[in-house]
């Protein structure tokens, strides 16, 4: 099945009683059983069933099956937010004394998790230039238990050499975790050798700015039976290839509780139907806007892999199928004052955070989502005071070009 067909039909079954094509929202905290034996069998895992919605819920299961189908994964666990998915996946892998080697070009929330929380827990995080594989390799030590990178980094819009990352991960027998929020369903994760795909389903999977959510999909590429993670050993014995997903559900969700609401699972599932349709248009608009921005005299640089001039263009084509290069671009103007002038002059695009809405979203990263970081930290993340990040929406492309043109024209001429 090609992606558009998978979007509509993948992981889906009709209701056997009613023929309903949409699954219901099960707003039930817990589930009753006809006898104690059956309930015990469900707890033991020898019978299928749900017991408590912190751990599983029929609506979440239906959403997880659809996500697994999208990515061709062996299973998915949904989380309450993208950051719950990122932290859940990594806390599922890492213990005190372990090392995580990660790209420094990261979403700010992930940066903060790596720099503030993990060191307090005794997890050593080595942030390196993710575009330099020799730097990644040099950071690996004998306690490295996971590698982490964003497929398209936010907001620096670099495209990592995922084949290189995956080859290194295989060499050191560490799972490669990739945040693929910015290119949903456009990566052949298992073929590349990526162990886990992490998503903020808030973004293009929902696609309409309606609610927050996250997910972790196990692609099946990493052989958990060979994993050196001591805490996973009992799960590997019980569940084999499903070991990590079982751990995520039975320990991370059970004990840390970052569970997605059934209501949001239904909403995000409904976005999957039109994912490819929407994403194609987002990407076409992004390219048209990027091409225009490249011609405006007030713009110092445009960061978008769809541009042939981008250092990541060829890699993006090879990794993501050749047609789409993402729906996020960043551009830089002279300074913060100029960036604010542009943003405040926009009439179609909205000044706000988030990505992947139907509307175009524009943000001055330095003074908002990255305001808590030092200039050095921001530099490592590829952020400077003149950077504007744009999540390009589904409006008419010419309307977007016209909007950004008049906004850029509002920057006063400098002597």
């Amino acid at each position: 099945m090609r992606l558009e067909t998978k979007n509509v039909h993948g992981g889906r079954t009709l209701d056997p009683e009613t023929g309903a094509t949409q699954f219901p929202v099960h707003l039930s905290s817990a589930f009753a059983y006809p006898d104690s034996k059956r309930l015990a069998e469900v707890f033991a895992g020898t019978e299928f069933g749900h017991v408590y919605s912190r751990i599983t819920n029929p609506t979440l299961t239906a959403f997880e099956l659809r996500l697994s189908s999208l990515e061709g994964g062996i299973g998915t666990v949904a989380f309450s937010t993208g950051m719950a998915a990122v932290s859940g996946a990594l806390l599922g892998l890492l213990s005190h004394g372990d090392t995580l080697v990660a790209s420094s070009s990261l979403f700010g929330g992930t940066w903060s998790l790596f720099q503030e929380f993990f060191p307090r827990m005794g997890i050593r995080v080595k942030l390196v230039d993710g575009m330099d594989l020799s730097a990644v390799r040099a950071a690996v030590d004998d306690r490295t238990r996971a590698l982490y990178v964003e497929s398209v980094s936010n907001p620096a819009i670099g495209v990592a050499d995922l084949e290189g990352w995956a080859a290194l991960a295989k060499e050191i027998n560490a799972p490669l975790v990739v945040d693929n929020t910015c290119m949903p369903a456009h990566l052949e994760g298992k073929k590349l050798g990526i162990a886990l795909l992490v998503y903020s389903t808030t973004k293009w999977i929902d696609g309409h700015g309606r609610a927050v959510g996250g997910a972790v999909t196990d692609t099946g590429a990493y052989k958990w039976r060979n994993a050196p993670h001591a805490h996973l050993a009992p799960w590997i014995a019980k569940a084999g290839p499903m070991a990590f997903l079982a751990y995520l559900r039975n320990r991370i969700l059970r004990d840390l509780g970052g569970t997605l609401s059934p209501h949001t699972a239904w909403i995000h599932s409904s976005g999957i139907d039109t994912l490819k349709l929407r994403f194609d248009r987002h990407c076409d608009n992004a390219l048209e806007l990027a091409e225009f921005l490249s011609t405006h005299p007030a713009v110092r640089s445009v960061l978008y892999p769809g541009l042939e001039s981008s250092p990541f263009h060829e890699r993006s084509k090879a990794l993501f199928g050749g047609r789409n290069h993402g729906a996020v671009l960043s551009f830089t103007v002279a300074d913060q004052e100029s960036a604010w002038t542009v943003l405040d002059s926009l009439k179609v695009a909205s000044r706000m955070t988030n990505l992947g809405d139907t509307r175009t979203l524009a943000l001055h990263v330095w003074s908002t989502i990255n305001a808590a970081f030092t200039p050095e930290e921001n530099a490592a993340m590829g952020v400077d005071p003149g950077l504007v990040r744009v999540s390009v929406g589904l409006e008419n492309a010419q309307d977007l070009v016209d909007d950004f043109r008049q906004a850029l024209d509002a920057i006063p001429a400098r002597p």
Binding site: V42, T61, G220, P241, N250
Partner: protein, 68 residues
């Protein structure tokens, strides 16, 4: 032929693959079930190609988790 399914002796047609056995036994949520075949958890890719034999022991397992 006679095999063990989740600890119970059962007669099933000969020559079934694991995928076919799942359908024959009307196992719930086939996309979510894990299969332990003669003590080893099978990779999902092996479901189609593993043919069940007389005397085999098969466990259908779900890692859904318990609650509070």
């Amino acid at each position: 032929m006679s095999i063990q399914i989740n600890g119970q002796q059962k007669d099933v047609p000969a020559g079934l693959s694991v995928t076919q056995l799942i359908a024959h036994e009307m196992i719930k949520q086939p996309l979510m079930v894990s299969v332990e075949y003669n003590g080893d958890i099978l990779d999902r890719e092996a479901f189609e190609t593993t043919v069940v034999k007389d005397g085999d022991a098969v466990e259908f397992l779900y890692f859904m988790g318990g609650g509070s």
